[in-house]
């Protein structure tokens, strides 16, 4: 059996000195190249799980392994985030002071890469996402769908193996949502990238090859 790309072992996450238990014993493994949707009620712990998968946070107990290395122990979280993971948020989270093309270069500043390379790579990614005429705009000059496409380009900047999206269509209308999901699944297929999407939308969840539901901090059987 091939070992999974990501593995969560009996992960718990509590806040407020244990008064709030966001995750209570999650076991999960994700294979390389998989497309998985996470759904569940609001407050069930979806984002918390995604943050653990992305190395943004550590479990209170249990562990998360990336290619058999413990995140936060054998593998440094900063390195993991900068080199292996791309994040996409519901609220886009672009820097308002930077042009689209500069926003895409932001993650590349954390790795040693020449300035010229960075700009060229950003240009290439934005073109791939159909934004060749929007590269020089600031976020407030872009539509919501365009902003999310810039954010996707930014998530791809360092060529990650895993793409994590937390309700990427939550702020978009249905037509734009469909377009964004088409882009994400397209990237997943073309690049063989592992894609994990947290969503409320059943249609999106159904489109994924694998679907899990979280209820009260646990993965539903």
């Amino acid at each position: 059996m091939t070992s999974p790309l990501l593995e969560v072992r009996s992960a718990c996450k509590s806040y407020d000195e244990g008064r709030i238990e966001a995750l209570r014993g999650v076991d999960l493994s994700i294979a390389a190249g998989e497309y998985m949707a996470i759904s569940g009620a609001s407050g069930s712990g979806k984002s918390t799980l995604l943050h653990l998968l992305g190395g943004l946070d550590r479990p209170t107990s249990g562990e998360v392994l990336f290619r058999n290395s413990g995140l936060g122990s054998a593998m440094d979280l900063d390195t993991y985030r900068s080199s292996y993971v791309g994040f996409i948020f519901q609220a886009f989270h672009l820097m308002p002071t930077l042009r689209a093309i500069e926003n895409v270069q932001l993650p590349m500043l954390s790795l040693s890469r020449s300035r010229f390379d960075r700009a060229a790579r950003a240009r290439e990614l934005l073109s791939e996402l159909g934004l060749e005429h929007r590269m020089e705009q600031y976020p407030n000059q872009l539509s919501a769908g365009e902003r999310q496409r810039v954010a996707i380009a930014r998530a791809l900047a360092n060529d990650p193996q895993i793409l994590l999206a937390d309700e990427p269509t939550g702020n978009l209308d249905s037509v734009t949502s469909a377009r964004i999901m088409e882009i994400l699944t397209g990237i997943h297929m073309r690049r063989g990238m592992t894609l994990v999407v947290v969503t409320h939308d059943n249609a999106i969840a159904d489109s994924a090859a694998r679907q899990i539901r979280i209820r009260d901090g646990k993965v539903e059987a």
């Binding site: 943050h51 943004l56 946070d57 994040f87 820097m95 500069e102 932001l106 954390s110 790795l111």
Partner: protein, 377 residues
């Protein structure tokens, strides 16, 4: 257009985003640095002027009291000094600051009429004074200030003195001074038989010896024969006398306070900026920025504020020195030119101020947990 984003470009964008706040912070640190440049520049010009008193008259060594409390030297020391083989000439003098009129105070020197110090004075009108007579000579600037010329009478501490000459001195400090017979100043300051210092010209350096060695040797000779006194080389005396020390201390003291306020200004700006950008800093961490990179970002913003303020301050200080150089009272002491080492020192201090001010905000920014920062709106 390439639109290449660099680390420093991002720093610049963050500062430019809050232009007004950045500008105000720059003004704060700029005024502090300006005060530093102006005051320290002025006090070192003062020291230079003091040094010229010695160099223009060829004084190699000043002999002063060893203890701090008793600052006067017995006049009888002169004979012992002159008897030393290294000493060519030794001339006693008193200096003091005196109120001449309610708004004019000046340096007053008491010299002997045969003092070698006269060699560096250029007598513009009148003549040298005579020992034992109530006569004074005025520096050209002071004479102009007081509107006195030879033949006029000047009241000093209720005693009438006859102005016998007006001179131009080798040092700016002499331009604003009054010189009178040693005995007259001794009487005025109740220091009969005492002097402030002896100025000593040494015999020429013997061949084969370096001037520094010879100076050390002469110092040792003088101190050996007069154990209660110190022989201080002119250059050291220029930087170490009470007036210059006071000028330096007040320059550094005042500008340190200004600098502290400037640093607090930057610290406040950076703390606010980190607070407002909490979520953005969380996003940067989520995008793979490491803790030290967030730290660097904030420190660089603070450093740019410090350096920018430094440049602004140098411009302000330079203007202040220009104003001082144009005022008649200070023109002769202050030159509008700012020494290069002072500029380098100033920029160093400005940079350091920025880094110190940025340290705590930067550390706090770097400590943020990415998840907590992202949750914050």
């Amino acid at each position: 257009m390439a639109y290449q984003l660099s680390f420093s470009g991002f720093v610049w964008r963050n500062l430019w985003r809050r232009r007004l706040r950045t500008l105000l912070t720059l003004c704060g640190i700029g005024v502090a640095i300006g005060a530093f440049v102006g005051l320290v520049g002025f006090s070192s010009a003062f020291e230079q002027a003091w040094l010229r008193i010695y160099t223009s008259s060829g004084t190699d060594i000043a002999v002063i009291q060893r203890t701090f409390l008793n600052t006067s030297v017995d006049e009888s020391v002169g004979a012992k000094l002159r008897a030393l083989p290294v000493v060519a000439q030794a001339t006693p003098m008193i200096y003091n600051v005196m109120d001449l009129t309610p708004d004019v105070n000046a340096l007053a020197y008491g010299w002997k009429a045969d003092s070698y110090e006269f060699e560096s004075l250029h007598i513009l009108s009148g003549r040298r004074f005579s020992d034992g007579k109530p006569e004074v000579m005025l520096g050209d600037l002071l004479a102009e200030d007081l509107k006195k010329k030879p033949g006029d009478t000047l009241e000093i501490q209720d005693s009438p003195f006859k102005v016998v000459g007006v001179y131009h001195g080798g040092s700016a400090l002499e331009a604003d001074a009054v010189i009178m017979p040693l005995d007259q100043l001794q009487q005025l300051s109740s220091l009969q038989g005492k002097v402030s210092t002896f100025h000593v010209r040494l015999r020429p350096t013997p061949p084969g010896e370096s001037p520094e060695q010879y100076l050390k040797y002469a110092q040792a000779q003088i101190e050996a024969s007069l154990p209660t006194l110190r022989a201080v080389p002119a250059a050291e005396r220029a930087s170490n006398n009470e007036f210059v020390r006071l000028a330096h201390a007040s320059a550094w003291g005042t500008s340190s306070i200004a600098l502290l306020i400037g640093i607090l200004g930057i610290a406040n700006t950076m703390a606010m900026s980190v607070f407002e950008r909490t979520r953005e800093l969380g996003i940067l961490r989520a995008l793979g920025w490491k803790r030290w990179q967030v730290l660097m970002l904030i420190q660089m913003e603070a450093a740019v504020l410090g350096l920018g303020g430094g440049l602004l301050g140098i411009a302000l200080g330079w203007c202040a020195l220009h104003v001082l150089a144009a005022l008649p009272q200070t023109a002769s002491i202050v030159s509008a030119h700012v020494a290069l080492p002072l500029l380098a020192e100033t920029l160093g201090i400005a940079l350091l101020a920025g880094l110190i001010a940025g340290a705590v905000p930067a550390w706090r920014g770097a400590q943020l947990s990415p998840v907590e920062a992202l949750r914050c709106d």
